[in-house]
Symmetry: C2
Subunit: 316 residues, 2 copies
DNA sequence: GGTCGCTCATACCTGTGAGGTATCGCGGGC
DNA sequence: GCCCGCGATACCTCACAGGTATGAGCGACC
């Protein structure tokens, strides 16, 4: 049985007349008669009653036509869905991201992406840079948002794009001696109890900090660790010590906290997107395109900081 | 796009290999490659990634395959449903019946029919013989169970089958003078206040009664009318008078009622099935077949009364 | 009641295209 | 570098979808 048979049967049912159905199908009447006869032979039942008053479906014909209609619907739906999937309008995007990406990058990208791709299922999971990179190479994620390009096993299969730059800031509670200062020096920081992100989670960030505080590794080794920027800020607000984090962390500021730039101005590893090099997912491509677009529209009106996007490979 | 393309695409997806898919389809590999290429051209998207490690659906391909599978399912379902409908296993049967058919005929036929045709939607509506015949010719019913073959406009388009015979009995309350009698005569009945079925509802029954009581038409003209056997019995129990009805009415007897045969033994119009002569519905045919079968199985062990089935035309 | 007209079925022809065979191009692995 | 496996390409062939001509059945109508 071919789709042709279904189309012909539906045309006959619609027009109740072989001649007119054939005309509507753009073929002659005899071939239509024969195709219907072939179909009836294959199904094993007469599907139409040919009466002088017109052609009407038998009980078997009526029962045949409903699923036949659905089958043709599904066939055209297949073509439509293939096109939509190819354009990235449907599908799924599994994104792993660090919490600080929620402060500036994701807000600027997610809203327009959702607007332009409402039928894409976004699966967003907050996780550390290290975990998202591993999940990416295992195929459990399609996109990772983290700080610093992934290194280590499988990293050469990934491609990274920088989507944000931040420098180091410190956050303290309003009762802390630094509260009210515009800047604090590295030397001052080295004498504080620090609150930092765990080494396992953010190797690039920790390596950078270790290099900065080379004379005060003790400060880092005895530091309090917190996985989330909000936790770092909250602990600082409690007076636990001086939190260290990216400058975008200011967006999560609370009335009982104070932020100081660190001098000298100290860039942190870039906020980067990573995805598998061989990933041809149109949804991923659409998301990256949206990232580029939102970067340029943000860059034009004013400062390019945090909006610079440059493509590079993680392999080395 | 033809069903062939869907089958081929599904085979390629399943085997992840053009050669093996072609073998499974019973064709050579080159035609399969070409059909897939044709399909991709028609859809406008590449559906499969041909890699050295195997053939895998692209995002568009994956989106295509799901509805394609459903389309093929619907196609085979169409053939199956046509067969089931042709065998009367699915469909609808709208039956109009007089209340007394619930006493003997319908109980013997409906249970086995439902058991053998569980997916047929039975629409059962209690109505008078006159109304069911009219609804039948208007196409609002498929089958009518009534007393006496339909006459009048449209009756020649109907076919009737006798499914039950009854003779006249009378029912009285236990306080009535006839209570305890085995039989009462027509003459005795003519002196009673009667409870009978309305003339509009059951013309054949009323005509028969009128002929019987020719000397006592007054008794009929002043009779109480009740549409339903249960109402006739109930009114008789209340002492309103002597109810007249078919012998199968005994099956609805109550402790406060008494039934007497009428002498001489007086046959009532047959209980008949009617259906449109041009109705080719397999469900109807299956129901009639079930009727015949249950009649013969009931006839064998004992009395054939009420089970005799004879086919005849209502036209005259 | 014979004829006409309408409609679907049948007979037969034709051209397209599905499927066959042979072969090429291209990676990957030894 | 060579071989092997796999999909693509080239070309052929025949089945079958579709075309034309005509037949068969059945109302309608004069």
């Amino acid at each position: 049985m071919e789709a042709r048979h279904l189309r012909y049967a539906l045309a006959v049912a619609e027009h109740q007349h072989f001649g007119r159905a054939a005309a509507a199908l753009g073929i002659a009447q005899p071939p239509l008669s024969r195709q219907i006869a072939d179909l009836e032979r294959e199904v094993g039942e007469r599907l139409f009653d040919r009466t002088p008053g017109g052609v009407f479906p038998t009980a078997a014909g009526a029962a045949f036509l409903a699923p036949a209609r659905r089958a043709l619907c599904e066939m055209s739906a297949a073509a439509v869905e293939a096109g939509r999937a190819a354009r990235g309008e449907t599908g799924r995007l599994r994104v792993g991201f660090i919490g600080s990406a929620l402060l500036r990058f994701l807000p600027s990208v997610l809203a327009p992406f959702r607007r332009d791709h409402p039928d894409v299922r976004l699966e967003l999971r907050e996780m550390s840079t290290a975990r998202s990179a591993a999940a990416l190479t295992r195929g459990e994620l399609d996109l990772a948002v983290g700080r610093g390009a992934p290194r280590g096993a499988g990293a050469e299969e990934l491609v990274t794009v920088t989507v944000g730059r931040d420098h180091l800031v410190t956050v303290v509670g309003t009762g802390h001696p630094y509260a009210g200062l515009k800047t604090v020096s590295l030397a001052q920081l080295g004498r504080q109890h620090l609150i930092v992100t765990p080494a396992d989670d953010e190797p690039a960030v920790r390596a950078g900090l270790r290099a900065l505080l080379e004379d005060n590794t003790l400060a880092l080794d005895t530091a309090t660790e917190a996985r989330d920027v909000h936790t770092i800020i909250g602990l600082a607000a409690c007076g636990v010590g001086a939190g260290l984090g990216p400058s975008c962390m200011r967006a999560a500021g609370r009335p009982d906290t104070w932020f100081c730039d660190v001098t000298p101005r100290t860039p942190l590893p870039d906020l980067v997107l990573s995805h598998r090099r061989d990933d041809r997912s149109p949804v991923l491509a659409a998301f990256l395109e949206e990232t580029r677009r939102s970067a340029t529209t943000r860059a034009r009106p004013g400062r390019a900081r945090g909006a610079a996007v440059s493509r590079s490979d993680a392999a080395r």
